[in-house]
């Protein structure tokens, strides 16, 4: 407590601290650039090496220089130092550098403290069940390191061969601590009031979450097609609509500058609900993963949605803020619909615009079709026939030049959805048919056990809509003309030859099943928000709990749990005695039945003498009993410590002692 110098760490203690720090930084590896991870690990390895060589801590200037170099390189790498990602990179680096100077107990404690924070912050990037459990393992390591620091260095067992015997007890204690902490932690989790609005926010887009963007240029969807993480999950009120109808509408891209497709800026909100639906409607609930983008997805065509979403003129759903936490919303969609029976001149102009200095060959082809074929339907069919005749579906298409659509249509003839959709829309516009690109997802995996549809990022898709006088906006999926299997089976099935080993069919099937657990985790834990918290006591008839009540609940349940633990702790240690005293008591009880009970203040020697003098046992037994008492005295009170074996032997002798009951 007072001014004693902080004790130095032993190598073993250092190893534990190093392992805990390593675990905390490792949790950040998935979202940090490879180079950063490499540098952090190199610093950790250097710290370990220096400790094992008994080299002193680094000098101050060297440390400062290292920090400066690292901060500079982070600034160069990220430019914006205030995002979550640069922050986590900096935290990892500081933690590793801290280990480099850790020699005393005090440094180690500081490192563990900061490692806890670093470990927690890793969960801000990935909230999946697997990752959370991994973070819990990291927490076990942290606790084990704290325990090691607390143990006296001298009495630790020497490095034995068995790894488990060496490192087991601390790890076991850490795991047990977490397990025992579960009830209290749960009560905290349930009752700590959630914030209605965050205190601070990282700038949007600083986090690099994958998801559909609102622009499309060649190759932009490609990254998504390789991403197996969940985009959203859908629970249908009724039966699952047919697969070929599962087009999940996202951003609608109308503006084309020759390279990139964009949303049309002056999108007006949709007018009062027209009667779009021409057939049955479908009701369902979507649980959208955090995407950091403001738009939502719905089955073509959403006609009714929950309150705070806005429906644009082009029937895409957007929110005011980005979706930074999982979001749940209900939608009613019409699978058969009629959209925009009449097109305003302005709309028409937008949907026909083509940059004149791009893709001349495609434009000529469109104009020629308009000239040859008079029917809009025929032109659409001509384009689909063209694709069907000589195009291939592939996820790794050859690169395209400046006139990307020309290159694709007339030279490479290989590509995936975005190429087909873009080329199709360009051809239609050239032929005078209003057309636009719709991005979103197509298909999904239906989990029978959980009765929900899982849509992954890899289900991302792009298709086209053309406006036909008789039908309004009509969906045309040119990709389906090339590869019907893409729509029927999904992107994975089509590109089976191009997948990495870890995306094999059986593994994917397994992961599709395991998504049930992820969904449960998401439902129960990740999406537990203010509304769910307020409705916690719903089953008891309490509709809404306010923050104050929550805090009282937290304090109340916490106190009950702690009081229980306190009582248990105090009871468990009471009323127990040393084995030798238990045996002595047994001996006295046995004699009490034959001779007389031992007086409260009677010592073993006096009692033994009294027993012998009473003559109740007979001479031989009396001597035997006397010897037992003498053994007890020497074991209990002699100067040298009695060995456990001697105590055991005494206990056994007492147990063997039998007296014939006096008649």
């Amino acid at each position: 407590m007072s001014g004693n110098p902080s004790p130095q760490l032993t190598r073993r203690q250092f190893d534990f601290v190093g392992a805990a720090v390593f675990a905390a930084t490792l949790a950040h590896a998935p979202h940090l650039p490879f180079v950063v991870t490499l540098v952090v690990d190199a610093i950790l390895a250097l710290a370990m090496w220096r400790k094992h060589r008994n080299l002193p801590a680094l000098a101050g200037p060297v440390k400062l220089a290292l920090i400066a170099i690292f901060v500079l390189s982070l600034l160069i790498e990220y430019r914006n130092p205030f995002g979550r990602e640069p922050g986590s990179a900096l935290a990892c680096a500081m933690l590793a550098l801290k280990l480099l100077e850790t020699r005393a107990r005090r440094d180690a404690l500081a490192a563990i403290c900061f490692a806890s924070f670093t470990l927690m912050s890793a969960l801000l990037f990935d909230t999946s069940l697997v990752f959370t459990l991994t973070a819990f393992l990291g927490a076990i390591l942290l606790l084990a390191a704290l325990r090691e620091i607390e143990l006296p260095a001298i009495t630790l067992p020497m490095q034995t061969n068995s790894l488990m015997a060496t490192y087991g007890p601390s790890l076991r204690l850490g795991a047990m601590s977490l397990a025992l902490a579960a009830p209290l932690a749960l009560c905290g989790f349930l009752f700590i009031p959630r914030m209605q609005s965050p205190l601070w926010r990282t700038p949007d887009g600083a986090d690099g979450r994958s998801g559909l963007s609102d622009t499309m240029s060649p190759g932009s969807v490609q990254r998504l097609l390789l991403d197996d993480s969940a985009a959203f999950r859908v629970g249908f009120d009724g039966a699952l609509p047919p697969r070929s109808q599962l087009y999940w509408r996202g951003p609608v891209l109308t503006d084309f500058d020759g390279a990139t497709w964009r949303r049309h800026e002056s999108n007006l909100p949709a007018n009062a609900l027209d009667s779009f639906a021409t057939g049955d409607t479908v009701d369902y609930e979507i649980t959208l993963e955090a995407s950091d983008k403001p738009w939502l997805f719905a089955l073509d065509l959403p006609i009714q949605t929950s309150a705070d979403t806005r429906r644009d003129r082009d029937m895409s759903l957007t929110r005011r803020q980005s979706t930074t936490a999982p979001l749940r919303y209900r939608v009613r969609s019409a699978l058969r619909y009629r959209l925009d029976a009449n097109l305003s001149p302005q709309q028409r102009e937008t949907a026909l615009a083509l940059p004149s200095d791009f893709n001349p060959r495609s434009q000529r082809l469109g104009t020629q079709w308009r000239h040859d074929l008079h029917d809009d339907d025929a032109i659409v069919q001509a384009a689909l026939d063209l694709f069907h005749a000589s195009f291939y579906y592939t996820l790794s298409p050859p690169p395209l030049g400046r006139d990307s659509v020309d290159d694709f249509l007339f030279d490479t003839k290989r590509g995936f959805c975005e190429h087909y959709a873009a080329a199709f829309v360009v051809l239609m516009r050239a032929a005078g048919i209003p057309a636009r690109v719709v991005t979103g997802y197509q298909g999904g995996y239906f989990n029978r056990v959980g009765n929900y549809l899982l849509v992954r990022q890899s289900d991302a898709h792009a298709w086209a809509e053309v406006w036909l006088a008789a039908r309004g906006w009509t969906r045309v999926d040119p990709t389906a003309a090339v590869s019907p299997a893409r729509v029927q089976l999904g992107a994975q099935a089509v590109a089976s030859g191009e997948r990495a080993w870890y995306r094999a069919d059986w593994l994917l099937a397994l992961r599709n099943q395991a998504d049930l657990i992820d969904r449960g985790w998401n439902n129960l834990v990740v999406q537990f928000n203010t509304q769910r918290q307020q409705a916690l006591l719903g089953p008891l008839g309490i509709e809404r709990i306010d923050a104050t009540t929550l805090i009282w609940l937290l304090i109340g349940t916490g106190c009950v749990l702690l009081a229980g633990a306190t009582l248990w702790t105090m009871r468990a240690a009471r009323q127990r005695a040393l084995p030798i005293d238990i045996a002595y008591d047994a001996l006295c009880r046995k004699l009490a039945r034959i001779v007389a009970p031992r007086g409260v203040n009677e010592g073993p020697c006096d009692y033994a003498a009294r027993v012998q003098a009473s003559g109740a046992l007979g001479a031989a037994r009396a001597i035997e009993v006397r010897a037992l008492f003498e053994r007890y005295v020497s074991l209990r009170y002699a100067r040298a410590l009695a060995s456990p074996a001697e105590i055991q032997s005494f206990v056994r002798s007492v147990q063997r002692l039998r007296f014939a009951t006096r008649n």
Partner: protein, 333 residues
Amino acid sequence: MRAALVTAWTHLQRLAEQRLPALTRLKRAESLPILLHRRRIYVVPSRFGLIYSAMLLVMLIGALNYANNPALLLTCLLGAAAFQSVFAGFRTLDGLQLQSLQVGPGYAGGELRMALRFATLSPKRGLRLRMDGPSAANAANAPLAFDLGVVGESAIEIVLPAPRRGWLAIGRLRIWTAYPYGLFHVWSWLHPDQRVLIYPRIEPNAPPLPHAHGNTQARALRRDDDDFGALREYRSGDPRRRIAWKASARRDHWLVKEFEAPRNPEIVLDWHCLDGLDPEARISRLSAWVERAEGMQLPYRLTLPHTRLGPALGSPHRHACLRELALMPGYAP
């Protein structure tokens, strides 16, 4: 500034011990064995515990800000585990019993080895022990860290400073633990009502023993009848085999053979012969001589102002002499 704070803190502690009955009760010495139980185990969060809880608060706010439930769950788990470590800490001290203590010989100015025998019903880890009181502040009195890994009895050795000769009360020992995670400081007092005798300081490089020159080996007395020095009159109690029968026959009273006396005169360690020295120095020198005479196996006599011991040789005599020397009344320096 720092010194002033320390003074204020000790003052505050003293005040607290006066005011709080539970603390003052343990200021008194107790007879062994001393059992630590819930009424005398105290718990406060350690400094690291406070820092760690501040860090947990930061983590909590971070998790809440990002509405990130898994992060919140991890924070809650770590917080609950940290909080519950207080129970493990309590159990570390609970049921611990100081059975006995055994103190080796110590000389003033040196140190004292004290073996404490603890009994425990469950293995205890991460215990610390330190003398309480004024010496607690000095750096040499670093806490002793130990484990009691086995159920039953085990002994711990602690080294105490032995400031001056005479009786030394063991004083109060502070036993504490921060096990398992260093977040809570769980402590109690052990104040056995035992005192130990500290022998006087042994003067280093003391001059040789007085009158101890020449052959210093006491010779074993031989049974050879011819080798006696003189005859003297029989006194009652003389053994019969010592009677010189031939010589007695010529006299009217019995004569007994008197064997040769040891060649060296008896060693007398006399307080009064050291007039030139101050009293403490005399005590030191006499003690040194006692030890030397023991080492050379020479019987010696110790003469002090109020008592005289010996002549004799051997452990009981040595301890008696050193004890008398240790308990000489104090002299102002």
